[in-house]
């Protein structure tokens, strides 16, 4: 096979795979600008009609605020717990810490559905019932292991030296933590927060199980969908996508382009 034909074959294959991966995103976004009543070809528009309709829908905008609230608070809680536990574990001898480490990352092994069912039973039994707060607890459960893992993986040997230096210069433990360790770890903390927010923002099954009236945006989208395919769902979906996309991008930036350490 000639060099040129192999080359074009490779690019053709890459193009086909990317087309497959992007097909649903393109169809979703494209037909959110539909002016007709159905999100299928032919595309007549572009029009912002369905975005206006989506923003005028109180149930939809309420669920958007609920999602932002749950996402922001649960991501903050998961990041804080993850950072503290990573710092606490970083200075421990590995042998003593294995059990704790396994416990902290164990929720990664269990389906969201099972975590949701378990929490639903516990909240019901305890008489707390379903609420937006319960959803937030569920989201901290699924995000804490990731925050811990992301932040812990960034605690390297260079931090031992910085930590020791701060201590030798007379900084107390808490001063070292908030003046030295936290600023150095900021990229990992931002990445953990953004990732948690994105996962909470997109999460569906725990929210469906644990919320009653204050539903989140994915649950609301699911309910709208039951009425059939409308460009309004496309518009809502595009907004959901744009926000998760932006958060994922910030997380990627924070980890890939982190400031170079001086030698």
């Amino acid at each position: 096979m000639g060099k040129l034909s192999t080359h074009s074959l490779v690019w053709a294959f890459v193009a086909v795979m990317l087309a497959f991966i992007y097909l649903p995103v393109v169809v979703l976004v494209l037909f959110s600008f539909q002016s007709g009543d159905l999100p299928v070809p032919p595309l007549d528009g572009p029009s912002l009609r369905w975005y206006q309709r989506a923003f005028a829908n109180d149930r939809l905008t309420n669920s958007l605020w609920n999602s932002l609230l749950v996402g922001g608070l649960s991501a903050a809680a998961a990041t804080l717990l993850g950072f503290l536990s990573a710092y606490g574990m970083f200075r421990r001898k590995p042998a003593a810490a294995t059990a704790i480490r396994l416990l902290l990352i164990a929720p990664l092994m269990v389906s969201y559905l099972i975590i949701g069912v378990g929490l639903l039973i516990v909240f019901n039994t305890a008489g707390l019932g379903r609420s937006l707060f319960a959803v937030g607890i569920g989201h901290v459960v699924i995000n804490l292991p990731l925050c811990y893992a992301i932040i812990y993986s960034q605690f390297g040997d260079h931090l031992c030296n910085i930590d020791n230096a701060a201590h030798d210069l007379g900084a107390g433990d808490l001063t070292t933590l908030h003046r030295v360790i936290a600023p150095v770890m900021l990229p990992a903390i931002i990445a953990a927060f953004c990732l948690s927010f994105t996962l909470s923002w997109d999460e569906f099954i725990i929210s469906l199980l644990l919320s009653r009236f204050d539903v989140t945006l994915p649950v609301m989208t699911f309910e709208l969908m039951r009425a059939g395919l409308t460009p309004e769902v496309n518009a809502a979906g595009t907004i959901v996508f744009a926000i998760s996309f932006a958060m994922a991008l910030v997380a990627a930036m924070a980890t890939i382009f982190r400031p170079r350490r001086s030698r």
Binding site: L81, G88, A106, S111, V117, I121, V141, P218, G237, A252
Partner: protein, 288 residues
């Protein structure tokens, strides 16, 4: 495992204490619910009330009722097909990226290829429904081109469920397999070629065996997420067949049968742990 420098001072009390909030939280809201669920699975449910006594009837019922066992069989079938198809699509893609595409393009294409990973899974399933429904994007385009005269029946079938899953896991597997392939030292490949191996032999004897961990990690994640997912089969598969997550939701929403929902959740967990034990030696979790 990280190396610990000798001069590392022992952690003071306050730092040791910092791990406890996370531990307490995990025990309270992750371990305890699982224990409670295990207890509930042995509850005796008479009508819609709990009789307050213990029984193994729920487990007996699960393994003897056809419709419940069918859900398990369906779930395992869909999960296996998804995993196999995803690997078969993602492996060549990752391979081409790692060995055929010029180095400066590799990372960029990879980044572009995994971006839609961040679409919400409800929205993603909905988008696929737009594409494959009877008067959806695919059928309109194919009929417009005159390739088919009757719309293809894809929506609300197992094929649609698998399509939605495969789309998601091709991205994930491309990532894990590429990361693995990129780590294979080029000198192994050069050495084999110097010793007279053809490119096919290089693939078969060097690249494939060395990429097993990347495939294993990706395939394991695919299995775990697929078998526990409710959204994709519910939206794309409709109610033509029921998978375990849908069956669990039916128990909760329709009949509030928490003991049976617990039994099925535990069966799913045991299945995942079993698969983990099989894959264990390829999964390096030590960095965590």
């Amino acid at each position: 495992m990280r190396a610990y420098s000798a001069e590392l001072r022992p952690p003071p009390e306050i730092v040791r204490w910092m791990v406890w909030p996370a531990v307490v939280f995990t025990v309270l809201f992750f371990v305890m619910p699982l224990i409670v669920m295990a207890c509930v699975s042995f509850w005796d449910r008479q009508g819609s009330f709990m009789a307050g006594s213990w029984t193994v009837q729920n487990y007996v019922k699960f393994f003897t009722r056809d419709y419940l066992l069918t859900a398990l069989v369906n779930s395992i079938e869909v999960t296996l097909i998804t995993t196999i198809v995803s690997v078969l699509l993602a492996y060549p893609f990752a391979y081409v990226l790692a060995f055929q595409v010029p180095a400066r393009w590799q990372k960029i294409i990879l980044l572009i290829a995994v971006l839609p990973f961040w679409t919400s899974y409800v929205v993603r399933s909905y988008s696929w429904l737009l594409i494959v429904s009877d008067n959806g994007f695919l059928n309109r385009v194919l009929m417009g081109l005159g390739l088919i005269s009757e719309p293809l029946k894809i929506a609300y079938t197992r094929s649609a469920t698998i399509l939605g899953f495969v789309h998601f896991f091709v991205m994930l597997l491309t990532l894990t397999i590429y990361a693995n392939l990129a780590q294979i030292s080029p000198s192994y490949i050069k050495a084999a070629q110097d010793l007279g191996a053809s490119w096919l032999t290089v693939i078969r004897r060097i690249i494939l065996p060395l990429s097993v961990p990347g495939v294993a990690v990706g395939a394991f994640l695919t299995f775990v997420i697929t078998i526990g997912d409710y959204v994709t089969p519910q939206i794309l598969g409709g109610n033509t067949e029921v998978l375990v997550p849908q069956a669990i939701m039916l128990q909760i929403v329709r009949t509030a049968d928490f003991p049976m929902a617990s039994v099925m959740s535990l069966v799913l967990m045991v299945l995942v742990v079993g698969v983990y034990l099989i894959f264990q030696r390829y999964l390096t979790m030590s960095r965590l």
